[in-house]
Amino acid sequence: MKQKIGVYICQCGSNISDYVDVDKVLDSVKDLEGVSLVKITMFSCSDSTQNEMVDDIKNEDLDGLVVASCSPKLHLPTFRNVAIRGGLNPYNYVQVNIREQGSWAHSDNPKKATEKAIQLVKAGIERTKYSNALEKTVIPSEKAVAVIGAGIAGMKAAIELADMGLSVYLIEKDFFVGGRITQWEDLCTVEELASDTVTRLYDEVKSKDNLTLFLGATAENMSGSVGNFKLTINIRPRYIKSDFNKDKIEELTGKCKTLTPNEFDFGLTKRKIVFKTYPGALPDIPVVDIKNAGDDINIINEFKDHLDLDRKDESITVDIGSVILATGSDPYTPKVGELGYKEIDNVVTFQEFKRIIELSPNGKLKYNGKDIKSVGYIYCVGSCQAEGNMYCSRFCCTCAISTSLSINKRFEKIRFYHVYKHIRTYGKQEVLYDQAGRQGDIFFKFDEDEEPVVSMVDGEGTITFNDLLTDGEEISVSPDLIVLVTGMVPRDDYKRVAEVFKAPIGRDKFFNEAHPKLRPVETVIDGIMIAGASQGPKSISESTKSALSAASKADALLHKGEIELEPTLAMIDTSLCEGSGLCIQACPFNAITMIDAGGKKLAQVEKSACKGCGWCLAVCPHDAIELAGYTNNEMEGMIESLITV
């Protein structure tokens, strides 16, 4: 029990003292048992007051500290530091909030505000009395990181981590790297090709000794906690040896007949079963799609000496300290019939349109063999919905408009109609909107409650809408190609990935960060970072920025080789524990395990996994669990003083 507690009552200029009678608070607590010093301060957080507190702790030999001021969210770390400087354990410091919960909340009733402040300070003093000195736990950690997804964000993060000296496992589900951007090829707002960008990154990835790339690989299971995870990876066979005979494989490809829709081109083209997604795909090794081989299986067997047909799925486990999820996004797929999609021939999504551009011959934009002279964009398809995907996909306006500009440099004059809800070519890209207008593109705005309708009119796919820019008049346009500017949604397997890594998912179904401003690439699960579009729609540059932040957060966490943990963790009193196991069920972090201690089943807390949430305390039928920093004595002391007037 602390007997020499110093209590400081802050006026916060006049923020507190205007409504709380600080002198009365001082009078009410100065004679309490255990209090050896009470002071009123103008600004407790000011340098001079902090120094005064440090001196008081030393000179008066204080064993506990209470500052009644603002929210601990603001100044808990400040006064814990004061405690440390005075030679006190920081956990013997208690902050009492009499501003947000006192003067500000009850500015209409200063008398009651003062009464409440007195009770709160008294409770704080009680808690300090029973507080224990706690030390941070230090655990050793692996200097290795797994990056999930070898798209642009994943590759960028992996390269950066490797440069920082950590071991990196880059795990890609596909057999080729690059992710979504390779499907775009002609990148927006920069005159650069995705294949060049990916080639550059891939070469860098291959040049790092401490970076291992797994292709056709999926993360299956992860155990352990921050600093010491065990990740099991499943690797599917490519069926082609890495030292393959190029001529023989080409011969095999030539003989294959079976065609399947090429997912890479959203089914706009067909591919063989020995294939690369696109000619420049990396690594430059084809894949054999045995499942869809059909009759070609015989040809494949003919070439078995050059193939790796006996290979099975392989499972390996790696030790890592942290994970970066860079699994990217899928394009939103409209429902059949949504704005004519899959029902009207010339309706495609924006992502399909990008492939159509790449697949068109030089100088002529063609779709289904027909020349395209005019294109009608319908914006916000699958984004900014009243119900469903409420978020803005951010990249679409900019990319659609950028494409309307770049396409006119590449093909004969194509007229663009932009049927939009909002145009958000935010930031530096605002200039694109201007350029598009000047090139003769025509913009139409529909009300969000009146979505456009796509239907067949006189044999032509036609967009009909009420144009707010023409006084709400009903207008229709029949362009050669109707492009639904579809946004981003999480990858179809986001749930599986989230389950493996316990990654939290937001209402929009993307992975959720711990704090949008202060912890933008971390999740509430320590050691699990998120990067790129797996977190929410992002442009390429935004993705790489978040990848670099995630990499530096992972490095900051692991480079010392040990991790400090907050000491406010669950503690099990083995003398009371009866091994009911209820705490194990309650723990959301899988931090409690059951051990056998000489025939007696006992619960044990894995310190590195425990977050100090307190769920286990509430369910323990034997009251065998205490939370450090929030012990029963402290809590009961506080409650006692709060209810005693």
Binding site: R415, Y433, D434, G437, R438, Q439, G440, I442, F443, T464, L469, T470, D471, E473, E474, I475, S476, V477, S478
Partner: protein
């Protein structure tokens, strides 16, 4: 449901200088325009119709004629799209649309057609003189004046005048009727009770005579004082010019026998006073507008379509030769008088034949008719409510 035709912008571009692609629908032009109110988003509605090529909407609109081009929309346009000039172009376009012969569109879009027509009509006048002119009598009257009525008897010229006036009326009436048909008859949103055509008729006369619509220009502008001054100078000079040429037209077409005499009247005689008033009005007006266009001193003078120059030049030459005829006649220079008289008519005739029904001068009719029609419509809507 209306279909759009963005290629219309290319057609319209031939009628004036504006950047239709610059417009991003902000509506600044409409908030500054004194003609815009909650029922009528002017000029924005017209701009949008032009962008989308909604020609039906443009054809049935009276609004472009109500605009007297104060130019505020153009100066305040953040994109320098020049909406004021777009309205000017729409007026040229509408003039061409009202004209059923198709000549107007040719004159507005082809310099060759315009120049060709002028030369053709001038030659026609020359041929007529060669065929039908009287002798060039060099003897003078008792007062020392030239015997003009011997060379070109007023009675004969008067008949030619009437023929010309009849054809002008024929074309112009037809065009005004087409304007009426498209803007009133085809407008299904409003039925006009017959009596309104009479009760509102005074507005036609009033606006024709006073050009009162000018006074609305610059109403919404902060530095209104200065603008108002500029606007009223413009208004007075335009009125002076307009009354001048209307007066001359009346004297030539209605009273040539009285206007073209061999007798030299004293200076205070109404024939001379009216003539001097009219020619001064024309001269002052022409110099003012020409200087404005050369100096580009106001928004409306910044761009001059070649048809504007044609009008100014022809009117200037007509006035100049007219004055010369008068001077040569009373100072007794027979040949000078006769030749200049021929030239005078060679300019006058093409000017009236081209400008009045097919080009710039038709606004003399279209503007007051537009105000009249639109007031009839407003009155009809009020009754309906």
């Amino acid at each position: 449901m209306s279909k759009i035709n963005p290629e219309f912008a290319d057609t319209l571009a031939k009628y004036g200088a504006f950047d239709i692609t610059a417009c991003f629908n902000c509506g600044t032009c409409t908030s500054i325009c004194s003609l815009s109110d909650e029922d009528n988003f002017f000029p924005r509605k017209m701009i949008r119709a032009s962008v989308l090529g909604q020609t039906d909407k443009i054809d049935s609109s009276l609004e472009p004629w109500l605009c007297y081009y104060c130019g505020e929309c153009s100066t305040s346009c953040p994109r320098e799209a020049n909406p004021g000039e777009l309205m000017m172009s729409l007026r040229r376009y509408l003039t061409a649309r009202y004209d059923w012969t198709g000549l107007s569109a040719k004159f507005y879009t082809s310099k060759l057609w315009e120049l060709g027509a002028i030369i053709l009509l001038a030659l026609f006048v020359l041929v007529m003189f060669i065929l039908f002119a009287g002798p060039m009598d060099t003897t003078l009257t008792d007062q020392g004046g030239v015997k003009l009525n011997t060379f070109a008897p007023a009675k004969v010229v008067h008949i030619a005048d009437w023929l010309m006036a009849a054809s002008l009326v024929f074309f112009l009436t037809g065009n005004v009727f087409r304007m009426y048909w498209r803007t009133i008859v085809k407008d299904e949103s409003v039925k006009i009770p017959f009596k309104l055509y009479f009760t509102e008729a005074w507005k036609f006369v009033f606006h024709f005579a006073t050009q009162w619509q000018f006074s609305k220009c610059g109403d919404k502008i902060d530095d209104g004082e200065k603008k108002k001054e500029k606007t009223s100078t413009y208004w007075i000079i335009h009125l002076f010019l307009m009354t001048g040429y209307v007066l001359l037209l009346i004297m030539i077409v209605g009273f040539l026998n009285w206007f073209q005499t061999e007798e030299i009247h004293p200076w205070w005689h109404p024939q001379r006073l009216l003539g001097y008033y009219a020619t001064t009005g024309l001269f002052v007006g022409l110099i003012y507008f020409t200087v404005q266009r050369i100096k580009k001193s106001s928004e409306k003078a910044k761009f001059t379509h070649y048809t504007d120059w044609t009008f100014l030049v022809l009117l200037f030459l007509t006035t100049l030769t007219g004055i010369m005829v008068h001077i040569f006649r009373i100072t007794g220079l027979p040949y000078a008088t006769y030749y200049i008289y021929v030239i005078h008519l060679m300019v006058l005739f093409p000017m009236l034949m081209i400008e009045v029904p097919f080009s710039k001068w038709s606004h003399l009719a279209y503007r007051p008719f537009a105000i009249y029609f639109s007031n009839v419509k407003i009155a009809a809507k009020k009754i309906k409510k």
